[in-house]
Amino acid sequence: MSKFLSKGKPLIDPSPSTEFWAGARDIIPLVVGAVPFGIIFGTLATTAGLSPSGTLAMSIFVFAGSSQFIAAGLIAAKTNWLLIVLTTFVVNLRHLLYAVSLLPYAKKLPQMWKMLMAFWLTDESFAVGIRRYESNEQSAFKHWYYIGAALTMYLNWQLCTLLGITTGQLVPNAAEWGLDFAMSVTFIGMVVPYVKNKPMGIAVIVAGVIAVLGYGMPHKLGLMAAAIAGIIAGVLSEKAIEPTASIKN
């Protein structure tokens, strides 16, 4: 893990600020993909019966897209607050997986950093951040990269929520712009390079199949099921077909 093991490449000497801005830049495609959702949430939540300030407060303090959408739906249906909170808990369970994956990298950071990383943990910041952490490039400031990406995502979410609250009714059907597809192509471009051996291929296929089969499950549980099934499939096939793969990687 020595800093001086860079493979012949000149040390570009990453600093907190270069890492921060690189993270902010690299998450842009995912930020673009989130724009329509932010606007739709702002519009939807206010029509569901949440006050404009409550809608914005939810984006500011909860900052979890899927559960915010589901909460808006439950509020419209006059659901008891405790049930909404419990549903939020279940919908956000996948963040446990993300947090555990980030753990080896975040372990030595000060408490304040861990709290910031946790508060801003989303599908998007995880995807972009873990990619940086797993890259071979040596840097002591990869957490700055993560924070740059996560903060950009956060600010955009607030801005789009505000836009939805104020002008949502005027914006023609944000759901049909197709901008959300930016997330899909970005994630595809991130997944493909992982698939270098059979166990990884099997893991990804199993996850994809289970995700489709479990799509009807409530509270995003299909996603959890797919992820866990994929991980198990990968680990098992690693043991079964390529007993040496674990050493190579």
Partner: protein
């Protein structure tokens, strides 16, 4: 309807999930087996998010040339395999999605 209870409850529930692992990190020892398993998390989760987005339209499977997302996704996979360039994958994947969508609406 008590907005304050809903929002603060949701905020606490979400933060507890996101933070619990970080907060206990000094007490958590990840075994080699678990570390190996964690390597699968990013590709597996991202796949589980993307595949339904691409294949399911209004609640049912949409596999065919009429699904512009599928065309865009296949393009993205090919571009990624060939170039290994993330930005190019995003740009060309989006372009083929929008292009196919435009072509479909011209044809119909």
């Amino acid at each position: 309807m008590n907005e304050f209870l809903i929002i603060s409850g949701m905020a606490i529930a979400t933060f507890v999930i996101r933070y619990s692992m970080f907060g206990a990190s000094h007490r958590i020892v990840l075994s080699p087996t678990l570390l190996k398993a964690l390597r699968y998390v990013p590709p597996v989760v991202l796949t589980a998010i993307v595949i339904p987005e691409v294949l399911i339209s209004e609640g049912s499977l949409a596999i065919g040339y009429g699904n512009a997302r599928l065309v865009g996704a296949i393009t993205a996979i090919l571009i990624s395999l060939i170039t290994k360039n993330l930005l190019l994958t995003i740009v060309l994947g989006m372009a083929s999605f929008f292009g196919w969508q435009a072509a479909l609406s011209l044809l119909s």
